[in-house]
């Protein structure tokens, strides 16, 4: 790999295009680490927000009016407020009030690290949207189908698992995919609470090396690449589970 690095150093010397995050060992290491933190942030928040979405959509169909209202209020609150301020509120605001715990070395540290708060905040934010998406997917399943299943003797839970969920999932997959892509793009807000994700690391590099243009281009490409990966994955899932006549709502 050394010849590759030397080539980029040579590129800098001749043209002034400074891709230092490739040829310098230290910068390369922290860039790679930043990329993996972004990846970790994206994956964990996607999974958590999906869980929140499924559970929330299930709870929204409950018979208790107040439970439904609480879920509705939660969705409303998270959808109509800026995610950055939510992040600040959680990390700076609530983080202060939570008790401190002892870490491995016996020191008192905050209960959640900044990365963990970012995960919590972003998962709740995306989860609120997901509840809506899953709910519209569930509503798109015709009640006549549920009636038919009941007539055949299925229990409520069996109906939910074997008939409603598979159909609902196919219908809401495009909207869901769109939301997850937005989530990946929103993870860079964690920059604001000093999570060393890709944007943060790039900012450190460009303030050290003043190669703003190159780092900017790199960050843009990196995010476009991540988005592209996610979209490819979603398209593959859609192809695999496709059934003629179900879904095909265009949302992306």
């Amino acid at each position: 790999m050394q010849p590759v690095y030397d080539w980029f150093r040579h590129l800098y010397d001749t043209t002034g295009i400074d891709l230092i995050f490739i040829y310098d060992n230290f910068d390369r290491a922290r860039t790679i680490k930043g990329f993996f933190i972004t990846l970790e942030l994206s994956v964990i928040t996607i999974i958590l927000s999906l869980i929140i979405g499924v559970v929330g959509a299930w709870l929204q169909r409950s018979h208790f009016v107040w439970l439904r209202r609480v879920i509705a209020a939660f969705i409303s609150a998270f959808r109509n407020t800026p995610p950055l301020v939510q992040l600040y509120f959680f990390y700076f605001g609530l983080g202060f009030f939570l008790p401190r715990v002892h870490d491995a070395s016996g020191q008192l540290v905050p209960m959640f690290s900044n990365l963990q708060w970012a995960i919590i905040s972003l998962s709740l934010f995306a989860g609120a949207f997901n509840i809506e998406i899953f709910r519209s997917g569930l509503e798109a399943v015709p009640s006549s189908m549920v009636e038919a299943a009941e007539g055949l003797g299925y229990s409520r839970f069996q109906i939910y698992r074997q008939i409603t969920l598979p159909l609902a999932f196919r219908v809401c997959l495009p909207s869901l995919g769109n939301n997850l892509v937005n989530l990946v793009k929103t993870t860079n807000l964690a920059y604001a609470i000093a999570v060393p994700e890709l944007l943060y690391v790039s900012q450190q590099i460009w303030s050290d090396e003043t190669n703003v243009r190159e780092m900017m281009a790199f960050v843009l490409c990196a995010y476009l690449f991540l988005v592209f990966l996610l979209v490819a994955l979603l398209n593959w899932i859609e192809r695999v589970i496709r059934v003629p006549g179900v879904g095909h709502m265009e949302a992306y």
Binding site: A72, V85, F97, P99, T186, L189, V219
Partner: protein, 287 residues
């Protein structure tokens, strides 16, 4: 991503019922009491000597007093956020209209260019675009010998209008594609040129369909203007941090301050969401 044959991000069925991924919530107005409850709760926490915080016990009035004292400044900052979002929407909508129409051009290079631009700006994180604009755009512009300063907030407007124009382009494209082909056929048969058909037949029908997703976008942008604080533009969140610093940087004040900011945005964006819902229902165009 096949740039020539993309499905639009916002689609409308033949009756003008729009669907996008950002559907506004059909929920009761319990949310703002909930937010107020959160605000009060944070104030209550400030009351107790919880033993973990370093701050001294603060009487309830002080926190209320602090908020009361700083509210005018913060609201002034909020107005500035609204100015930024209005400016970005104006620029972005104007350019986005042409971008959307360009995506349906019959000239292939124009179409491909427009598709590429849209894809890039739709898939880029908004904060990165903000950074790029604030850091890479010059701090002053020279036109015809005049030197015009280009302040940070203006660069932020440019930075926000980039993803807006891409999204508006998608809205326009989705609306135009949802007009039944019969309308094109009858316009053509009556002798309309393509441009005349757009102006007199297609676009007037599109305006109603474009309004709900456009308003949704406005709500989104208004909430995103706080990201400008990260790149150093002075707006509501920056002022909040400064207000907290002026109060001696007491950490237990941060929760109430940010809760106040959240409530402000909620009170502004929630009615917009409700109105958007109402318009969607009202504009279910029957042919």
């Amino acid at each position: 991503m096949d740039v020539l044959h993309r499905a639009p991000a916002f689609t409308f069925d033949a009756f003008g019922n729009g669907s996008s991924s950002d559907q506004p919530p059909r929920s009761l107005s319990l949310a703002w009491p909930l937010l107020m409850a959160v605000l009060l709760a944070t104030m209550f926490f400030g009351l107790t000597d919880n033993g973990f915080a370093q701050a001294a016990v603060a009487p309830k009035r002080t926190i209320i007093e602090v908020l009361w004292r700083w509210a005018p400044l913060l609201l002034w900052g909020f107005c500035f956020n609204l100015v930024i979002s209005a400016g970005a929407m104006a620029v972005g909508t104007g350019v986005g209209l042409f971008l959307g129409l360009a995506q349906m051009s019959r000239t292939r290079p124009v179409r491909v260019m427009a598709n590429v631009i849209t894809e890039i700006f739709r898939n880029s994180p908004w904060l990165v675009l903000l950074f790029a604009c604030v850091l890479l755009l010059p701090f002053q512009i020279r036109i015809f010998g005049l030197v015009i300063p280009f302040p940070d907030w203006a660069k932020a407007i440019v930075g926000f209008s980039l993803p807006i124009m891409a999204n508006v382009g998608e809205v326009v494209r989705g609306a135009v594609l949802s007009i039944p082909t019969g309308q094109w056929e009858s316009a053509e048969s009556l002798g309309y040129t393509r441009t005349q058909a757009y102006l007199h037949v297609i676009l007037p029908q599109c305006i109603k369909r474009m309004l709900p997703p456009w308003m949704n976008l406005y709500s989104l942008v208004t909430m995103s203007t706080v990201n400008a604080s990260v790149v150093g533009v002075s707006e509501m969140i920056t002022l909040t941090a400064q207000a907290n610093a002026a109060e001696g940087s007491r950490p237990e004040l941060l929760a109430p301050f940010y809760a106040f900011d959240l409530v402000c945005f909620f009170l502004y964006c929630y009615p917009i969401g409700k109105w958007t819902e109402y318009l969607e229902r009202k504009y279910q165009v029957k042919i």
